[in-house]
Structures are given as C-alpha cells and as structure tokens.
Symmetry: C2
Subunit: 417 residues, 2 copies
C-alpha cells in the first residue's frame, strides 16, 4: 500500500546535516520510506496524498532514558538534595507499582503523552515489579510506542523499592518468559552498581549473554556516586569496570548520564560499542554537572538523548533537544568545546535514537516511518520569509503539545490532534 | 462591586514565603484585593462566586525586560555569534518597524500572546520608531497588559536600526507628547552605552530628570561589551558610571542582565535604588554567563525577571522562572551559593515585578488583582495526595498555554481560554 505525505520536510540523515524539502513528498510503501521528493514522481500521480499544507514534517523523537514509574512524580521535589529526593519521592513512588491498577492508570497516560509530545521510540526503566512492567509494555505496544523496557533489578540500597537477590532473579526470568510484544522488547536493567550485589550483577550478566539481550544502566552521573562505587568495588579502577566485571559492558549497552566520564572511560565505551545517553535537563536539575558530549562524539562514541523523567522535568524531547544546546553552551563557556548547532542537536534527539534500533535515521529509504507533523502557524509574524531551518529552530525552542498535529510510528499513524 | 474567585490559591507575599489557601476565596472590591480567605466570610454569603474548581490561582507574571520588535525573530539564529546575530537578525528586524502596518500586526499578536502566557506587567524596549512605539503602547493598553514601554534611543553602532542624535531627541519628545495611555507609561531607554553618544546620553538624562521619568538600559551583560564600554569611556572606572555620569543612574532605573556586575557595581545599584533584571535564558542562549543573583539579593539589591525576548526564546515567564532555578543551580555548582527554591523563584517572577509598580506583591489587600488561573488537570496521576506547593512546582516546569484558563490584569478579566 502506498502512502504519500505532503508538507515541509526536514530531517538529519547524518550528524549536523539538515536536509529540507519545502512542500515536498514523503512516499511510503507499507509504512516503509521509499524516499523524499521535491516533486511528486509521475508513477505516483494517481495515489492519494495526505496534505499537511504548511506544517513541518520531522522525524519523531527517541527518548533513550527515562524512568516510567517516576512519571507520577515528575517535576516535584527538585529543590531537595539527591538523597532526600530519592527517599521522599523516588523509592516511595516506585513502591506503589505493586498496585497494578495504579500502574495501568499511570502507564496508559504515559504512553499517550509520549505520543502527544512526538516520541515514538523509548528505552525505559520500569520498577522492580514484574506485573507492572508487563502492563507498561502492553500499554506502550497498544498506543504505538516502540522500543525497550527493563524490569529494574535492585537488591540493596533501595529502601521500599528494593527486592531480595532471589526474588530479583526469579522475577526477571518470569518477566522475560512473559514478554510477547511485537514492538516493545526487554532490556536487562541493573539500576546501577550501588543498587546491585555482586551476585545479582553476575546473574544478570549471565542472563544477558545467554539470551542475547541488551543492557542499560547508569554511569558516572555525579561525583558522590562515583566515590560510592569506588568504595563498593575497590578492585575496579573506574566505575565502568564494575559493569565489565560481570559481563554487562557490551556492544549496544546504554549508559545514562556519563557526566564525569573521563578520557579513559569514554575510550572504554567507544571500544566496547557502549552508547552514552545524554540527559541535559536532569544533569542540571540534580546539580550533577555538564556532560562532555562534544568530546564524546569527537572520540567516536555513539550518543543519544534521554529525558530522564523524573530527573528531567518533562517528556518533551523538543525541550530536551533545546536543553542539549543550552548545556553545550555552558560547556563551551567552561572548556571552549563548540556548542551544538540545531542540526546537530536535532540529530541527537531523533536520528541517533532511531539508529540505535537499526534504522538509518532521518527519512532514508528502507526505514519504517517515525515522524511528527508540527503546525507552527501560531508563531509570531516575521520580518522576512523564513527558511525551514529557521522555523525548525523556533519550534524546537517553543514546542507545546498543541503544535503536534500527527505522529507516525513504525509506519502507522498513531496520534492525531 | 464585589467579585469573589474560588480555587486553590497560592502566592508569595515575601521572598521565599509561599502561602496557600486550598479551595480558598479571593475577594475583590472594584478589582482591588480585600483578602484571601480559607472560608467565605459571612458578609459575602449573598455574593456570586466565580468557582475555578480544582484550578490553581497564582499571581500573574511580570516580564521586566523584553524587546517587543524582536518578537518577530524569536528563537532564530541562536547558533550565531552575538555580533552576527545582531547584524543578521536584530538590527534588520528592528528597521522593519518603520512600517506601521507590520508593527500593528506583530504588536497585536505580542499583546495577545503575553496574556495567553499569563504575563500582565511588562517593561519593554520598542524600536527607535515613534509611531511604532505608540502602536505598541496602544495594543498593550487595548489588550489589558500594563507597564512601561520605551522608544529606543541609539545614535551609533546600530546599523540600519540607528538614528541621528537630533532625530533621537526630537522623536523622543514627540513620543512623550503622544503618550496618553492609562496603564502603559513611557520609560527613557538608551539602548546601552555603546549605542549612545555622550550628547544623546546627556540629553536623555535631562529629559528623565525634568519629566521625572524612569530609565531602563543594559548593564554588564558580557565581557566583550564591558571592555568596549571601557574603551568608550576611559574616564569611568566601571560600566555603571557611564550611566551615572549623565543622570541615568537613579532610583527605580532598571538594568537588564548584570551578569558580570561585581561587588562594587552591585553596591552602586543598591545605594542608588537601581533594579537588576535577571534574564536567565538569554544569558545561557547568548553564552553571556551566569548572573550572581543570590549574591545580589543578599546584598539588598532589588531583582526581578525578564524574558529578554529575543535573547530569550519564549514569552513564557513560567519557563523563565524555571530557568532562573536552573541558572542558580549552575551558580551553586560554580560558587556554592544556594540555588533558588520554587517559592523564591516564583516571587522573583511575580511579586518582585509587581512591587516595582508600587504594589505590595502576592495577593495582599489594597493591590489591584493581577492573577492567572491554571488548570493542571492533564498532569500525570500521582502516587499520593499532592500539596499545592508540589502542584505549583510541577506546573511551573511544565506550563503550556493550554494550562492558562483565565488571566486578570489590574482587577479585570482580560483573557479566557
């Protein structure tokens, strides 16, 4: 089946390279991109066209790190020191997901709101609860969100949110046996080194290897955490080695934050094929620091973006893309590393995440369509004719849900406003 | 005439002091606040009540520094170095306001959008054009926005946006003769020291003194600018002295930015009664630095917030309030100065601006009502009953125009959504 979308098409097929097709045509066969055309090729002349008029058609966003249960406490308690915040909000909130009705309510809203903000690919932490994690996967699948979800493992230092080592392993296996979703797959998720005993880490490494599953965790988010990890693993020279020791440091592993990853840790990531997930808003909200993202990219690391809800304050990945530019401006003031341009940041917030999932990224032939249609007609009158690049920058900094008119995920229209 | 509003009332009558009245009553006589009551006093039992149900009722925002003509170029070209940005966008855009039809279109939209974002008090730079400046004042007055607007004066270094010294003075006088608005008043506006010859500065100081008019300008925004001012005025030890020299450094003068104001400059402000307008987003967007706002407040300076559109990327003062907290977290990481709490930042974004205009700030008896009604019912389900303080924090970080249901300015309902 041929689908043709018409509008002002913008995408970044490579880091920093913005391509535009004003009033162009995006042609799909069974939801898979055939190509972007400035004029409609003759052979499609008889096909119906979905005309989005003056709207912008962009790749959808990919949120490569967020904590689904924390959606219920988003943007609260951010005045608190990190440990108080964890005790007062995070662990108590996560413990509530024992209640599957509560899980259903929050996760249904989360799935809907992700699409309303234009995010169609995700990599998520759930809570420790197997049943709630399966509900989350089911709600995402039903809404049309795609990606990876992990039942969280934590058998120490987790207050009411933790579990025993035995429960953690048994429930992980039960969870994996029940993951039968088409577009939402499991990812092994040790919360972070301080939350997992050596025995649990070893077992998770084994499961990931035997079942060929990807891994996600946190790395070098703040200096206190790094010192704590050092205490727990005096045999490991650096934080990342605590994952390597148990087989959790592997190609395609996603490590959130990496704010304080130095040259050696970055090189270890690049060598192993580990990805860094940059969470600009969270790093500022929690006073973690400013991640050296330009340096990582120059070193060949693969980097994508995450909202880190609820360390981050919103699901809006447009906001996170803008925050990535802001954080890079801070870094420039600090170290002189050039800040990210809009096409660079857009790539990180869209194509980079899609590439993690094996797509080419941008609107390239052969990829299933992941796109958002953005109506910016309520933006101010301007003093001159605007280029699509100018309109892109303006709406990235000003995106409200009202601007997102349609969302396509895996080739299907999944949201209309 | 008695008006009674019911809802979840929050306000900050003093810096950092949040007061709440869940399901409370805000009582007005002819638009002027009588008081906030937890229960409806007996004597009002017969009066009709406007019941906003579960919505939050907050003081409206005050945007104490923005460039009205730059609304037409908001969020564009922020990848450019400052001087290129000024040449490519700012001066060219401002030159367009020679065209009064264009001015009318942009300024009408600006006035409407300010209210849609909950801002009812402003202090603005217009362009050099007298007629467009009067149109701006007329459109603000008509919409129900209150505050101060300045015809910009710049007789050097302004490219196509500048004027001759004679024109600048003559047009300033013509503008002042035609300012007949009830809620929008004039403010003397030398753009900044590098834009104004000594002769023009002296004349503006004289006009401000003779007509008892307030003054606004820019101060110590970035290090390049400070060096430039030093070159232009080798006789002045510090930037602020270039304003003092011409009678422009006076009680109630508003100085935008003050990013690099040191102890001596801050003390000069405190002594003279000059206000600092903190523009957190702009300072980050333009790589200006992080202003020492906590230090200023500790030193007794009066500080309020500005969007600095188009150095800032949005009219949303909720966003600017959140950015003020973020910028203060950066400053804490740098110097250890404690970051701003939500009640502190809310005060700066609301009550501080209202106090500039002679109000007490917060919902205190005797003040004309300036308020926004915020519906946060689309925020995520939560794991527990939320306090009003928690809901305030969440919506400040997540405000979209859709959340703002009603806006009151100077005691009148001026916007409904």
């Amino acid at each position: 089946m041929t689908t043709i979308l018409r509008g002002n098409i913008l995408h970044t097929p490579a880091f920093g390279r913005l391509e535009t097709a004003p009033g162009g045509f995006l042609i799909l066969e069974d939801g898979v991109i055939e190509g972007v055309f400035e004029r409609l090729p003759e052979r499609y002349a008889a096909c119906p066209v979905t005309d989005y008029g003056g709207a912008l058609i962009l790749p959808s966003f990919a949120d490569m790190h967020l904590h689904a249960p924390q959606y219920a406490m988003m943007s609260m308690g951010m005045d608190l020191p990190l440990l108080d915040w964890l005790d007062t909000y995070t662990f108590r909130t996560e413990a509530r997901y024992e209640d599957t009705d509560f899980a259903r309510e929050v996760y249904r809203q989360l799935a809907r709101d992700l699409l309303a903000w234009g995010t169609t690919r995700v990599v998520m932490f759930a809570s420790r609860h197997t049943d709630a994690t399966l509900i989350l996967m089911e709600e995402l699948e039903r809404a049309g969100v795609t990606g990876l979800v992990g039942k969280v493992n934590m058998d120490r230092n987790g207050g009411p949110a933790q579990e025993t080592t035995e429960d953690s392993i048994r429930e992980t296996l039960r969870w994996l046996e029940n993951c039968h979703f088409e577009h939402i797959k499991p990812i092994i998720t040790p919360r972070f080194t301080p939350s997992c005993t050596d025995g649990l880490m070893a077992e998770l490494g084994k499961i990931a290897r035997e079942r060929n599953l990807p891994v996600q965790s946190h790395l070098s988010e703040n200096t206190g955490e790094i010192a704590w990890v050092k205490e727990l693993h005096p045999d490991c020279g650096q934080y990342w080695e605590t994952y390597k020791k148990y087989g959790l440091w592997k190609d395609g592993a996603l490590m959130a934050h990496c704010v304080h990853s130095d040259r050696r840790e970055q090189e270890a990531m690049a060598e192993a094929g580990v990805w860094a997930v940059h969470c600009a808003a969270s790093n500022l909200n929690l006073c973690s620091g400013t991640a050296p993202v330009r340096e990582m990219i120059d070193r060949g690391l693969r980097v994508a973006l995450g909202s880190d809800v609820a360390g981050g304050e919103t699901l809006s990945m447009a906001h996170m893309t803008a925050m990535t530019i802001r954080a890079s401006k801070l870094k420039q003031m600090e170290t002189g590393a050039p800040f990210f341009t809009v096409p660079e940041a857009l790539y990180l917030g869209t194509a980079a995440g899609h590439r993690y999932f094996g797509a080419k990224g941008g609107f390239q032939p052969g990829d299933a369509l992941h796109a958002v249609v953005v109506d910016d007609s309520d933006m101010p009158a301007s003093a001159k004719e605007l280029s699509l690049a100018e309109r892109l920058e303006r709406i990235l900094y000003n995106m409200e849900r009202k601007h997102i008119k349609a969302v396509y995920s895996e080739g299907r229209l999944v949201h209309r406003a």
